[in-house]
Symmetry: C2
Subunit: 370 residues, 2 copies
């Protein structure tokens, strides 16, 4: 087991990474304050891991657990789901000294984390990510949210977990499409922040798809280290943390434009990164060769390198509703080099439109590659 | 105009108190970051003050305003109302640099503050309290929330406003019952925290009911000073801040037991304080004479000094669902002396039951006094 720390002063917390960490009761014990525990999961994940987690919590001294299962998929990130979770927690007499345990992927983590953030004005929670996407990205950093019909993650809170317990053994049971979606966020960390991780991916991204335990462990640990550094420096996304949104402004527009749940988040981010790299080239920031390196890794990972064939107007409209708009100007995360993302508010809309046209043109391919 | 500061480091903010402060554009200007403003109010308050606030915001440089009206009364503190507010904000293109302005009483402030807390993971907001209760209590301290069928304020956040603009001129138009409900929280501040304020109330609580501007100004300023000190010392209610819940554990049970909206919050707190004082006497902490002093002020303020005639079992059940339960034990805020509240977890349930029986017995009077 390896442990990465997110240094946030009084809110600092560990990320425990390794095969079998779900069963290690010592990892839960420091976070139980004598209260009851609400485990939030879904019908796909719970049959695989819920009993193991309950047993570990029991050994760690939990006085009682309440289980709340939500729908599988992005539709669970709704105010209606939040109300169901809160209702079950109240019925189960979870007090202010209680703990929420998010057992599942990014959707469960975002929803359960938000429930913990607002339940009785905030109680503690643990992230137990069981997908690659959640282990390399969404379980770390305290962003929690549900969606609104007008936009993704529009209702949420910054609420850091007390700990992340990332059991890499859970990745073996992950469907291939889910695994690929997680690889997209590893690619993001490499190409936005760390040229070495990018090169490592170029050297053998296929190992991740083949469920190579050692490669997955490396990808999770390195991603968590990178994300922990960024979050420690800029918890509330006043600056640097926005670089982690590389691929996400376009990606959110792709998800919304296609209808939530049609594209997986990671798939949309993959195509969004290709689009952002194309924009970087057209803005004169990145070489065509470097943009091609990103596109090739995306394609080798079995991820879509083309965006859905919506008009540029529609993309701009969808992006204008996204959170990343400051004072009416669109902010884009673009690449100056591989491993070096930057935030720009001064890009020419013509370049944005041209990039969209270029990356949406192979329309049938976009569908086929998924 | 007087200004009281809430000292919370990076989240410190001013409370501006005076007649006509709503119109002072200089009070809004520091909080506009170039973005748009969502004004949340209700159909009773908006016709009185909305145009004045919009004019002041416009003079202060706001680029545009969105108005959201919610229902009048406690039923507006719901997830359904929250969704309507968020929807209007998204439709109105409020960005992360936008501002929420809560124009109204405690209900509007709690709902609008919670909307600001969770909108795009948190944006700034101003409190413009227009009731005595909101000016002396709920607009200060950053507690925001909506209710759940299983309990009051169960879904919420600590989210401090950027400023409170308390225009005491708005109190002149307040219905007498609303004014009395606010006086209950002034009584709370005096009897829980400040023997001088308690004595001042005993010397002439009637001046507040007669809408004496000088007396109201004093009550607002002194209450804000007391609350600002407590909040600065214990923002998240780890200890001392819980003393501000004097009368509230019983009060919330009264509100829930009677059905939300039947009793005003301040009315329930008044009867709850009498009950807490009775418990203090029975627990051997407070003299009978001091409990009587509290009861007399409550009665002179035209507030209910008796609780609804529910059984002690029902009260205990309602209170067990309240937030103020730690590790399964009931915590009570009781008085050791006038102006000196303490938090106790070790009280004998028989004393609690006896106090409930004593304060609920004059059942017809409870109704008549309202």
């Amino acid at each position: 087991m390896e442990t990465v720390r997110v240094e946030l002063g009084a809110r600092a917390y560990p990320i425990h990474i390794g095969d079998g960490t779900l069963d290690v009761d010592a990892l839960y014990r420091p976070h139980l304050r004598g209260g009851r525990v609400a485990i939030v999961s879904n019908a796909v994940v719970a049959p695989l891991y819920l009993e193991r987690v309950k047993a570990a919590l029991s050994r760690a001294g939990a006085t009682g657990t309440v289980n709340v299962l939500v729908e599988d998929g992005e539709q669970a990130k709704s105010l209606a789901s939040l109300e169901r979770v809160i209702d079950a927690m109240l019925a189960g007499r979870i007090g202010r000294d209680g703990l929420v345990v998010a057992l599942g992927g990014g959707v469960v983590g975002d929803l359960a984390g938000f429930a913990a953030a607002v339940y009785q004005r905030g109680i503690g929670f643990l992230q137990l990510p069981t997908t690659l996407l959640a282990q390399v990205d969404s379980s770390v950093g305290g962003k929690t949210a549900v969606n609104h019909a007008r936009g993704k993650n529009m209702i949420g809170a910054f609420h850091q977990p007390r700990a992340v317990i990332a059991d890499t053994g859970t990745l073996a049971s992950l469907p291939a499409r889910e695994l690929r979606a997680g690889v997209a966020e590893v690619i993001k960390h490499g190409f936005a922040l760390d040229v070495e991780l990018a090169a490592w991916l170029e050297a053998g991204v296929e190992r991740l798809l083949e469920n190579d335990a050692q490669a997955l462990g490396h990808a999770v640990r390195r991603s968590c280290e990178l994300k922990a550094q960024v979050v420690a420096a800029d918890e509330r996304e006043a600056g640097q943390r926005a670089l982690l949104n590389f691929g996400h402004t376009f990606g959110h527009a792709i998800e919304a434009g296609a209808g939530y749940g049609v594209w997986l988040h990671g798939e949309a981010v993959a195509a969004g990164m290709v689009l952002a790299a194309e924009l970087s080239v057209r803005a004169g920031l990145l070489s065509r060769a470097d943009a091609e390196r990103l596109r090739r890794v995306v394609q080798r990972a079995g991820l879509p390198a083309a965006a859905p064939p919506l008009s540029a107007d529609r993309y701009l409209e969808l992006m204008a509703g996204d959170k990343k708009v400051a004072a009416g100007r669109m902010r884009y995360v673009v690449l100056k080099a591989i491993g070096h993302a930057v935030l720009r508010e001064d890009l020419d809309e013509r370049d944005v439109r041209a990039a969209i046209a270029a990356v949406t043109s192979p329309a049938p391919g976009a569908a086929a590659s998924r």
